[in-house]
């Protein structure tokens, strides 16, 4: 049904809940998960870091640890995954990975969708308006 599924994650507990259900859905659907997280590189100068370590310093760390753990969680359920760490706005990152991978579904948690933050600019809202594929918004509490 959905063969290429992009899911957005961060380190929040709501994102973890949404991810667990996304894995369940990918398993049911028989698709590959593309796990995307967006992060801001820390504004360290890197002046005293040898060149060969600069890239690693900016892109590893928390984002990669998170992605590796979630890929393991998917694998434990028999779901194949690929991980993507992006230094972009989260909604931009999700939509651009989805376009690049030819995704047929983007999965996001609904954080920011209701109540006082239901204004434009929240990640699920922005993704829902801009995606070129279907979008599944999962409830989190």
């Amino acid at each position: 049904m959905y063969s290429t599924i992009v899911v957005g994650v961060d380190d929040s507990s709501t994102a973890k809940q949404a991810f667990t259900r996304a894995v369940e859905f990918a398993k049911m659907s028989g698709g590959t998960l593309h796990i995307v997280t967006a992060y801001k590189p820390k504004p360290t100068s890197g002046a005293d870091v040898p060149d060969e370590f600069r890239y690693a310093m900016a892109s590893t760390g928390e984002a990669d640890v998170l992605l590796r753990r979630l890929a393991d969680q998917a694998a434990a359920e028999g779901v194949a995954s690929e991980v993507h760490a992006a230094t972009a706005d989260p909604a931009d990152a999700l939509v651009s990975v989805a376009d690049r991978e030819g995704a047929d579904l983007i999965v996001v948690g609904n954080k920011g969708m209701k109540g006082a933050r239901r204004v434009l600019g929240s990640v699920p809202n922005s993704v829902a308006h801009r995606a070129n594929c279907s979008v599944l918004i999962l409830p989190t509490t």
């Binding site: 049904m1 259900r21 049911m28 659907s29 969708m113 995606a131 594929c133 279907s134 979008v135 918004i137």
Partner: protein
């Protein structure tokens, strides 16, 4: 997962795509599909229409035929289906039925989403539903 799925429908091609996506999911989950079609009561007067024809100009006959057609489509896929014809605003009707049946997923077509108009049906559902929402790309 997704055993009680609600989808809104009218006679448009975009609605048919949303219903097909909902059928796909329920076919996998083994749950029940609830198809909701809503009509706004029109102010059109039936004065001058002979009494025996008044029934046929009621908008709910069109709604019933959409529901019958789409329900049959679900049944041919082996999916358990219930049809709901509702009077009123479509987004509200879908949310009302979702609440009544305890839906864990609401499916909507994406039409109207890109215009960023807050009153569009998928937008209203995405903001107000308390369960998961699937916005099917239909345009």
């Amino acid at each position: 997962m997704f055993e009680t799925v609600v989808v809104g429908a009218d006679d448009s091609p975009t609605a048919a795509k949303a219903v097909d996506a909902a059928i796909d999911i329920v076919a996998l989950s083994g749950g029940t599909l609830h198809i909701v079609s809503a009509y706004k009561p029109e102010n059109r007067s039936t004065a001058g229409v002979p009494a025996e024809f008044r029934g046929s100009v009621q908008p709910d006959s069109a709604v019933r035929s959409v529901l019958d057609h789409l329900s049959a489509r679900a049944r041919t896929r082996g999916v358990a289906v219930e049809a709901h014809d509702q009077r009123g605003d479509p987004a509200q009707a879908i949310l009302d039925v979702a609440g009544q049946v305890g839906a864990d997923l609401v499916v909507s077509g994406s039409q109207g989403m890109e215009r960023r108009v807050l009153s569009s049906i998928p937008n209203s559902i995405a903001h107000q539903a308390t369960c998961a929402v699937l916005i099917v790309k239909t345009d």
